[in-house]
Amino acid sequence: MNMEFGRFGSGKAVKRMEDAALLAGEGQFTGDFAPEGQAHLYFLRSPHAHARILSIDTAAARALPGVLAVITGADLVAAGAKPMTAALPFKRPDGAPLQAEPQTLLATGAVRFVGEPVAAVVAETLAAARDAAEAIEVDYDEQPAVTVMASAVQDPARVVAQTRYGDAAAADAAFAAAAHVVRVQIANQRLAPAPMEPRVVLAAPEGERLIVRLSSQMPSTARDQLVDLLNLAPGSVRVLIGDVGGGFGMKTNLYPEDAVVAFAARATARPVKWAATRIEDFLSAVHGRDVESEAEMALDAEGRVLALRVKGLANVGAYPRNSGIAIQLLIGPWVSTSIYDIQTIDFSFTALMTNTAPTGAYRGAGRPEAIYIIERLMDVAARRMGLDPAELRRRNMIAPGQMPYKNAMGQVYDSGAFEQMLDQGLKLADWGGYEARAAAAAARGKLRGRGIATFLEWTGGNALEERVTVAVKGDGGIEVYATTQQMGQGIGTSYAQLAVDIFDVPIEKITVIFGDSDRGTGFGSAGSRSLFTAGSAVSVASGKAVDQGRELAAEALEVAVADLEYQGGTFRVAGTDREIGIFEVAAKQPEGRIFIDSTTKVNGPTWPNGCHICEVEIDRETGEIEVASYVSVNDAGRVVNPMIVEGQIAGGALQGLGQAIYEQMVYDPETGQPLSASFQDYAMPRADVLLPGYVTALDQSVPCRTNPLGVKGVGELGTIGATPALVNAVADALARQGKAGLADTLQMPLTPARMWALLEG
């Protein structure tokens, strides 16, 4: 390894290669493209939560100047466009297959949530498109709207799917024999993902093909879904994705709007752009979470958990999406028992259809909901038993010697040293010094509380295979193409570092390309999978490129392959000064390059985990919560770029704190109108939430055993730990005020008004 280049290899906090352009405003987001002849699309959306559509009159709109097309759901159906469908093998409680009213790309017959697209206008200017949309007359017959789960569960037609896991009889027996039973009734409220860049699509016909630029996490999935929904010929769509201003899961699957823009471009033979406003994203991009749970834990006299029982209701919105159902009915439950050795479970999860926007992936996707439940239960149990909450967790942790460990849901953890994370966390947070800090806060008139969450998560989407290409070019550059997607998380820099590890050349030589569906097919970036799947593939493919280079170099130098040493981009005959550079070798090839197209499959998901400890101070008079300190120790496996990993965990934690304290997507229970559809009313965490007492530590001593890099996915870890850590801290503060009983039903977001009411009550 060349020491100079090694400074940019893995393990180093290399500055992100993409940032200079992004900071200088030179990013290439979809919205930055404005091809000649570009027309603009505007969606007319439903003002009602539930209504029958009696008629749509578009005549006046079509007659307005500058209008190129007015498209309705009927037009799309007539053209053969397919509806969005939920097609998972889940069943209703009576055993009937999952069946929900499909969402046509534009509403036909009825609208079922406020903001559902009803018609699309394409015009020369956005203003003309909006004028025309206002001229469309839709005659609605309003129907009663249901947004509340307690109501939806009463209506069998709204109970779209149910899953049950475990052994109810064994759990009943465990509960009957338990020394302690604790119970919580808690909600995990609906959230709006709200990436900095809202959705944006630009579709342009090019010969027989359609070139679709959009802001997405999944280039080839977007291509395949467009082809499918619009019944297009395979190969007729090319998806290009430039810079992406955040995804958080919200930009995983294709939206009806995306397909309508593609349809409109073909119908008008013009490039057509739609850029969602912030309000459109609040109304019609997927929301996350929205689960209400009753959970019980049975413990023996020593605090060993005997059984876990969870009954969950998930509001999956008006048109259930595959992801929305799977996240709550399957994926989340995989980690319900977390890092604790609990083999007796009794779970039941029910998906409910309501007149709200569909739910889908949002950072953590099911795991935050599951971990929140068990970490709240742990705290309630510790308080009930008079145990230190860290000690109760310790007594139940799976030991390293139990790895690989199969949990009650059949998931296999490859590695984990949970007590090691706990011990470091307690030390870093000065767990023992808490009483002094609480007393000091009390002297300042503040209520201090301390909360802990120890947990793991599943990553990877169970899409374990990844294809990459690596081209060593005669001009001195190395180009890596990946079908995963960069969206602000810095994955390209991490891939480049992994390539530097193998090629031993300066990082400037490496270019990582994303977002061109013509260049490769893959799952995309979701579920914290990119590094351990595609990163492994980059490493393997780079190794193959060096091997091939070595063979070619041996031919060129007329020596045996085994006689060649490789360092700093150069093959040298051992013990001599005869050498040839890898780029020189590449230049000699017929195509002027060494090209590797390689697919790598890893052997399983990764199970990152950690110990997050939060201390809060509550202003008794206003109810405001201040995050006084936030300390986390994280098992991220081997770390490629510590700066990026710390950033991912800290940013994720801030998002988790956002859920705990601020965020909630609220619908009026009577009318189904969204009450928080802008930042005016949807409270986001801001930079000033982060205080100096914010420490993120990484423990790299427990490499993942199922991928060649030993890395674990970290995109969602922070989000999962932060909500229970903060809420447990608030519960602790309340308990110190003699209000321990409130802990069992404490609900997020812990707004000042809610905190004040709790403290007053």
């Binding site: 909630q664 000042p752 004040w756």
Partner: protein, 264 residues
């Protein structure tokens, strides 16, 4: 936004003439309320009368025992003005805590006061300091200026030109921010000076108002304790997803107490 005509007069008289000639014209100052409303097509004026070219609406000056601030003075200018900091520091403090940098560099005092958003900061200063609003045609005492939610004594063709603040002996401001918008959930400006002892409450109700019971208590005993026990009735206070009327009523007392502390 919809199409509209655009005018940029250079005198108050010309601006008033433009407004008088067209009942659907709107004056725009910093534009931080109007421009978003236009973008969302919530407002459809025939023309906009841009006040940024009118020199007589600008400037900060001290005249005897009063501070006169031109309507087109940006929040950032009030925040950083040494004249304001010396005469009425609470005004600089308030201005420095409106919105964010972008808002403070665009928004104007005249725009904020004319708009009379219940959750705005400046109306509390105008009412709480007993200011006099100078318009294109008259002078209106603060007590007669704020009539209700987004409603003032200004006629459609009358422009706020400057605000005359009597210099108080003491004044303090405290507010609780809405967790989402960071507008005022409940705020209090307390002052003692030539306009008497005044307590103006913003954010909590549909319009800024004076809290007479607190004024009487502070007149008798200028201390945080004097207002700590006074409960604002929750009737008629705002209630929304961010907080109940009862919570806002409680905050009125807390903010009044903190405002007195801040006044020193």
């Amino acid at each position: 936004m919809y199409d509209f005509d655009y005018h940029k007069p250079t005198t108050v008289a010309d601006a008033v003439a433009l407004l008088a000639a067209d009942p659907d014209a709107k004056a725009v100052s910093g534009g931080h309320t109007l421009i978003p409303a236009l973008k969302h097509r919530l407002n459809k004026p025939t023309s906009l009368v841009d006040l940024s070219g009118i020199a007589e609406m600008r400037g900060i000056r001290r005249e005897g025992n009063a501070l006169i601030i031109g309507a087109f003075t940006r929040h950032a200018e009030v925040a950083s003005s040494e004249v304001v900091q010396a005469a009425i520091p609470v005004l600089s403090f308030m201005a420095a805590h409106i919105g964010d940098n972008q808002v403070r560099n665009r928004g104007t005092i005249g725009g904020s006061v004319s708009n009379n958003d219940p959750a705005a900061d400046y109306p509390a200063a105008v009412l709480g300091l007993g200011a006099i609003v100078h318009t294109s045609s008259r002078k209106i005492p603060a007590d007669e200026f704020f009539l209700g939610m987004f409603t003032t004594a200004l006629e459609p063709d009358e422009l706020l030109v400057a605000i005359e603040f009597p210099i108080p002996e003491k004044a303090g401001y405290a507010k609780m921010k809405n967790p989402a918008s960071r507008y005022v959930m409940a705020g209090a400006l307390v002052s003692k000076g030539p306009a008497g002892v005044r307590v103006a409450i913003n954010g909590a109700a549909s319009c800024v108002f004076r809290q007479a019971e607190m004024e009487a208590a502070l007149a008798a005993n200028w201390s945080p304790e004097a207002v700590a026990g006074i409960q604002q009735p929750a009737d008629d206070l705002n209630s929304d997803i961010h907080g109940s009327a009862e919570y806002r009523a409680h905050l009125v007392t807390v903010m009044a107490k903190r405002a007195v502390v801040n006044a020193g």
